[in-house]
Symmetry: C2
Subunit: 315 residues, 2 copies
């Protein structure tokens, strides 16, 4: 955990539950077969630049040991990653030339279908928890196994909003923050205006609501406090898969690193998430992360600050 503990500030462990997958991805920049993917893989790797990270998930007997080694080598604790008989979760998709439209070609749940998250006993007091986009029933099972985390967040998707709404609402009652995209926010709230949607979602439980808008950036609502961050503009997008998960991972990893859950700190964490997402999309799978270090992250944080900085107009 050299990367995770390199900082000078206190750093608290972060627990992430979600999918670990083998993805087949086609973009205008190329095609890759059965590469490492899954929300937990991206989130954990992004988070582990900032904080000790614990992964809860499941893979099949066909999951390459090299992928486990990659995650472990970056300090991710795989004590909650089960390996069970059967095939690993698989996803296949294709992106349009502008990367804004994605077509899912295949989804095979495989070992994920019967997944019941089981946390190692020693993880039950993990202070920071991220429930990536999985069945809200499983998200609840994780929340039941951790004792009052200091800060918990969840992701979700249209499939659960329409199919398991009651269970999702029980999750929302218990988490401090939700991250979802603009269409999901509209679907969950019934409001087309994003500020109105965020207000309605916050009334369901989470005091912070993050609306992810892809290359249009993100909005963070904390009561009446609103923060807007553009995406980092890139010339060389290769594969957007995992961008939202890397955003959430960098976000939660930075929160865990500082241990500060004040509104100002949540804003800073969102910028960390934006920066990690910008690296993620520069290559397939987790490939860009493999050569990433704190200095490069620091340089892009500075570039982001320059991207959005201005002298206030006068009148």
């Amino acid at each position: 955990m050299t990367q995770a503990n390199a900082g000078t500030q206190p750093s608290n462990p972060l627990l992430v539950v979600g999918s670990v997958a083998l993805d087949t991805v086609e973009t205008s920049q190329g095609k890759r077969d059965e590469i490492l993917g899954g929300a937990a893989s991206f989130s954990c790797y992004a988070a582990s630049f900032f904080a000790p990270t614990r992964l809860v998930g499941v893979v099949g007997t066909d999951f390459p040991v090299a992928h486990e080694d990659l995650l472990r080598a970056h300090g991710i604790d795989l004590g909650g990653l089960e390996r069970v008989p059967g095939r690993t979760f698989r996803w296949a998709g294709r992106y349009a030339a502008d990367f804004n439209t994605r077509t899912t070609l295949d989804t095979q749940l495989n070992v994920f279908e019967a997944f019941k998250p089981k946390l190692p006993a020693a993880w039950s007091e993990t202070p920071f928890v991220f429930l990536a986009n999985i069945d809200p029933v499983l998200q609840l099972e994780v929340l039941t196994q951790v004792k009052r985390p200091r800060f918990s967040a969840c992701d979700t998707m249209n499939f659960w909003i329409s199919g398991k709404r009651a269970e999702l609402l029980r999750v929302l009652e218990r988490v401090d923050m939700i991250l979802l995209n603009d269409e999901e926010a509209r679907q969950l709230s019934g409001h087309s205006s994003l500020p109105a949607a965020a207000k309605a979602i916050s009334a369901l439980g989470p005091k912070a609501v993050v609306i992810k808008r892809g290359d249009a950036g993100a909005l963070l609502f904390q009561g009446d406090d609103v923060f807007a961050a553009p995406a980092f503009p890139l010339d060389n997008v290769v594969d957007p898969t995992g961008a939202g998960d890397s955003f959430a991972g960098g976000f939660m990893g930075h929160l865990a690193r500082t241990g500060d859950t004040s509104p100002a700190s949540v804003r800073s964490a969102l910028v960390a998430g934006t920066v990690l997402a910008s690296f993620c999309v520069e290559d397939f799978s987790l490939d860009r992360f493999r050569t990433l270090d704190a200095a490069a992250i620091r340089a892009r944080i500075a570039a982001f600050a320059s991207l959005v900085g201005f002298e206030a107009p006068r009148i």
Copy 2:
């Protein structure tokens, strides 16, 4: 021109050429018939909060004098607004519930069809010039009538990009900045990546390229310098008509006000444009502007600074 000259900084006149129209608009918030619209109306009004503004355009004999009075009362010089026999330009459109999709129901060029912009002789040395979205042939005629402006900018649209490309390219060789939306930027450049599109467009002439993205904000490219500004999130959008024109007007008005065309000043001006656009959409036509004053603009500039402010994450 009390508003325009209220500041303490130097203020240079801004000339705007574009449409003055009667709009029929339907949004989820209501329907209005034959209200004051047109790119020049919105741009001039927004600009005139910052700088002395000169309007070049044409209306028919049916154009209500009350509309002229409204513009003149805000300090806009109508010395270039012709009134000719015939009917005023009319546009009718309807917006989807989320305001992101607009259907044009009717366009009647009317007196605009035979429009030839003629600048009053005294305006030929106007230092700041904004060519709103009109036929590039007319934009060129205006550029021919002003002697080396200190800073000129143009808007355009898909119709001219495909139909009058050669003429548009001649405009681009002569302006300092172009403002256009993301789809137009892709169409004009042939690049789907916005940074790549901006670079290609800048190579055609304008040293600054502004890509307007509606509620996703705006991107400003000045060589290698990139600025990203989110839109100001609003609960109460009433009518998006004129938002892009008000953005351009506030932008160019602020540039004219300061007289400073450095990259940092262009960034500040973009924020002024963002703020003026955010007021524009809060009511139909120019109605929100009618009750707007410098104090309210100043307050929203402060709110915008708070919206995007953050402490840099640490790693």
